[in-house]
Amino acid sequence: MLLYRLFFFVREAVQGIKNNAFIHAIAIGTITFALLTFGIFIITVINLDRIFDDWGKRMHVIVYLDGKSTEEETTAVSEAIAGLPQTGKVTYISKEEALSMLKENLQNQAGILDNLDENPLPPSLEVQLKEEHANPQSISIFVKEVKKLNNISDVDYGQEWLRKFSAFISMIKLVGTGVGGFLLLATIFIISNTIKLTIYSRRDEIEIMKLVGATNLSIQIPFFLEGITQGFLASLLSLGILYVGFKLLIYKITIDYSLYLGYVDIIFLPQKLFAALILLGIALGIFGCVFSMGRFLKV
């Protein structure tokens, strides 16, 4: 009995798709477009996040030492900094090394440094922070700790830049959440309306099913199956388009903007999100059906 019913539901769903191929194609197209927009948004957010994360990781702190401190005092400061939990790598840059680096940077204008009586540059320690501490909050704590040490003249960590960068990231996250939420709502709205139209076009069929004694559940199941099929096909289609588009664009982006990207690889959707997008497609298909059928079942 159950098997006969199952067979009937599947057959009804297949027939429903076959008999209403055009309407289904429109619904699949709409869901595909909606998921595509959502997918593009997610890929953009994920990769922006990775790029910002990488920029953050490349932040370092320069601790300028008192030029008059002895070798022992310098070693003590260096060891104290190395002992802080945020510290990754500490590199000592002597006065001489600092001057030669400056000359290198000035290139053709390096001559202006020739008339100096003495080297005015202080020795410094360049501190690379551990990955997990390469963020504005950790850096502030770290700098506070460093400033407590003796024989230090100044600490430079791009304060202004860091503040702006941090504000920028917060803004991107806020705008991203807003845009993402809006997109999802718009997607649900479009899909539910499209499916409402597809079901409206089949209201006679639903009415007849009711008249001959079909239960609401047995009317809904074939529509569920159609909704699942719609959502599944649409998510596969959108992932396919997304992937091809991604591959075509990525080559150009990597070449043209490699300077800004640093060492970050632009990635496609991670596996988890890949599955989530398929599930979202299926869920949207079912959701659209359930919410659109209600009033047609009241015969």
Binding site: M1, L2, Y4, R5, F8, Q15, N19, D204, E205, E207, I208, M209, K210, L211, V212, G213, A214, T215, N216, S218, V299
Partner: protein, 221 residues
């Protein structure tokens, strides 16, 4: 089989479709409901198969009080009530066979049983040779025969028909009426709503006349 006790039906726009209806239709009756358009015939048919609910009064069908029936039980009641409409209500994308077996399939019947019963009812309505045609390839009379075959495939104890010959010419109307009579002779209680008084006088064993929502021949109630 069908009883109504002081039944009223008032629509939300305050239009009163039925007023103080009392009737008792026995098992095996061949009943006609006649009256002009808007007299309340369709409302009465709709009340019997729960497409609408009465505003006041009690309706009992096959011993079930429709005022108290749970929504989830309505489909099971409908499987025992066949309904035929003026506009046939067929699925034009499906074949004759598919339209007819549809009513059995939703009940989860076995394939062999579905085929056997489909053959029986299609033979009864004379369409056993048009199984693969779609409704739009058939005449109005043939389409109504499919609708009747679908209505009786579940062996219902009650068959309701709302203006079943409204769209058909007189010759086909006679054929369809003979078909209803034939079904009635097999023990099914038949209720036909029509504006055609002559038909009722020709075929009815009971004839109820409605006027502005009231039965005007109480001796038939």
């Amino acid at each position: 089989m069908i009883q109504m006790f002081d039944v009223y039906k008032v629509y939300p726009n305050k239009h009163s479709a039925l007023t103080a209806i009392n009737l008792h239709i026995n098992k095996g009756d061949f009943t006609f409901l006649t009256g002009q358009s808007g007299a309340g015939k369709t409302t009465m048919i709709n009340l019997i198969f729960c497409a609408e609910r009465a505003t006041k009064g009690q309706i009992v069908v096959k011993g079930i009080n429709l005022g108290k029936i749970k929504k989830s039980r309505i489909p099971y009641l409908r499987r025992d009530i066949g309904v035929v409409f003026q506009d046939f209500k067929l699925l034009n994308s499906r074949t004759v066979f598919e339209n007819v077996v549809f009513a059995l399939e939703v009940t989860g019947a076995r394939r062999a049983e579905i085929k056997r019963k489909a053959w029986q009812v299609l033979k009864l309505v004379g369409l056993q040779n048009r199984l693969d045609a779609t409704p739009l390839e058939l005449s109005g009379g043939e389409q109504q025969r499919i609708a009747i075959a679908r209505a009786i495939i579940n062996d219902p104890t009650i068959l309701l028909a709302d203006e079943p010959t409204g769209n058909l010419d007189s010759e086909i109307t006679r054929d369809i009426m003979e078909l209803f009579k034939n079904i009635n002779n097999r023990g099914t209680t038949v209720v036909i709503a029509t504006h055609n008084n002559i038909l009722a006088q020709q075929y009815a064993t009971r004839h109820l006349t409605l006027e502005r929502g009231r039965i005007i021949n109480p001796e038939e109630q």
